[in-house]
Symmetry: C2
Amino acid sequence: MKSQVTLKELARKLGIATSTVSRALKDNTEISIETRIRVKKLATELNYEPNALALSLRRSKTYTIGVILPELVHFFFSTVISGIEDVTFSKEYNVILCQSNESLEREISNCKALFNHRVDGIIACISKETTNYNHFIALQEKGIPLVFVDRENPVDASKIISGDFNGAYDATQYLLKSGCKRIIHLAGPQNLVLSQERMNGFLKAHQEYGIATDENQIVRCGGGETHEAFEIVRNLIEKKYLFDGIFAVNDMAAVGALKAVQSAKLRVPEDVSIIGYSDWALCAFISPPLTTVQQKGYEMGTKAAELLLKEMHSKDTFIEPSIIVLPTKLILRESTRILIQNDH
Amino acid sequence: MKSQVTLKELARKLGIATSTVSRALKDNTEISIETRIRVKKLATELNYEPNALALSLRRSKTYTIGVILPELVHFFFSTVISGIEDVTFSKEYNVILCQSNESLEREISNCKALFNHRVDGIIACISKETTNYNHFIALQEKGIPLVFVDRENPVDASKIISGDFNGAYDATQYLLKSGCKRIIHLAGPQNLVLSQERMNGFLKAHQEYGIATDENQIVRCGGGETHEAFEIVRNLIEKKYLFDGIFAVNDMAAVGALKAVQSAKLRVPEDVSIIGYSDWALCAFISPPLTTVQQKGYEMGTKAAELLLKEMHSKDTFIEPSIIVLPTKLILRESTRILIQNDH
DNA sequence: CTGTTAGCGCTTTCAT
DNA sequence: ATGAAAGCGCTAACAG
């Protein structure tokens, strides 16, 4: 970087004090109009831009927030970061972005880096590996406002979470109401509360509907990837394990399941109904278009950013954490049968 | 933020000078072993972390790079940022992320914010609106290394671009070789060099194949969105405009075209072959799976970050810009007919 | 209306 | 082996 234009340099060129330049630039009325004009003119000429570092150091405030997300390439997270960025941009905050790559070690490193940069606050989504939360608690102890998104965890902080239980409940209920007799659930990693919640919603819907479930209906689907689900479902079919509905922990798994069902010459939704989770971009375009539970990632991002900014600006030293549950929405497409509404 | 632990505080607690503490912490051999141990012990106890702001100010180096991307939610860009982040993380750099939302005004604002933060370098992809490049040139004049990704532009800077011309050429050639007689091209915004290149590749392939093209084969498809392409193609079919191949400027448009073709009861690929561009996640899962030109977003991100870091660390004041063209790859799926190789 | 001074947290030269 | 002092760029209290 070439030599920067600084207040000092402006002052020297104009033969006045730096403090005068500083004041003139912010239109302080104590400074004479003429001086203000002279200063601003030169500043524009030399393309002066204030050094945010010096300002931050001075103010002990960086106007920067940190964001830690597991994987940027996942559609859901990309919508979250997009939401965050839109809000912070409008409030003239900047975002330092870190991706933990689902690694605890990297997440810890991210926390440290963000603290060192003295970000004014942090929005984070824990990695799949995270079972210890000391690095987040350390942040809080250092007084940095922290808001979690999406994946639940035991830290006593504000959170924007998705109504996983309800989303799963709604999806399962729909399958049941539309006539499914035996539904399997492709479950996600059990250390993620989200996986548990979706499983619990699945179970609860059965219970309320008066249908017993057995453990064979819950099938672990490791990382919830397409190929895993494909293998699992193909296996079930080969073993003549019968089912007429699938509720998958996410859309990728649902797509794998769909392919497996179709490759066994079973029809979707006539023979098997399938519901995914997340409403990935692809869902509407596969064949048949996938019924799924929509999670509002963008909204989660904006809400998280708004909440964080609010907490950052709060005068209180102690802030009661807020937990905001964002409702999900069942998007009906053609991988499920049509439900004849009988209202009452 | 609560009171920070600073060098000064450590020094006070230990009854020594801050400069000694500073040195001890970095294992300066001029400091006695005992002092070093004492200092480090207290630093660990109090959870001391250096203030990156102060360091940056002192060193005139922030170990931070800025990234400006049009839209984070697009799969391609999310892979780019992911690639960038992985490289910078491994080199202990941080990323300040901005999304321009395809707005020139916002892009200008992003440039300013990044400069104010005194980032050590910038990676940017111009917005669709950008036709004036002064804000980028200003950055260069201030001596900030700049690397562009993906969308070509006239600024004299290093660039990692995708071989759009060749990608389009390959795709078109495949259609031709597999028997298409009349192919239409759904073209993108013409102010984007990428759109022009893809169109030129389309034309060149015809030319080399000895097939004349007329302007009716090039159909403007505004923003290249799914619904636009759907309307356009449906219209063409209704007007009995004949074609047996479609090369779309991107996958979204290709999907729209596919739906339109199918809804007119034409078969893909038997009646109409379709090729998209970008290899979005959805491509493999729609029906039929879409043949597309794969762009290596992640690799583009890593390459851009590596090049930027290299330029940042160069001692030379003037650096000859490098233009790296990343080859594309035609991913054959089922929206195109199978080509019988005749390796003459 | 403007200048002087101190200090944000850190490193580094120069003394001792 | 350690300390004092200056300075990175900026602001704000204080002085005049």
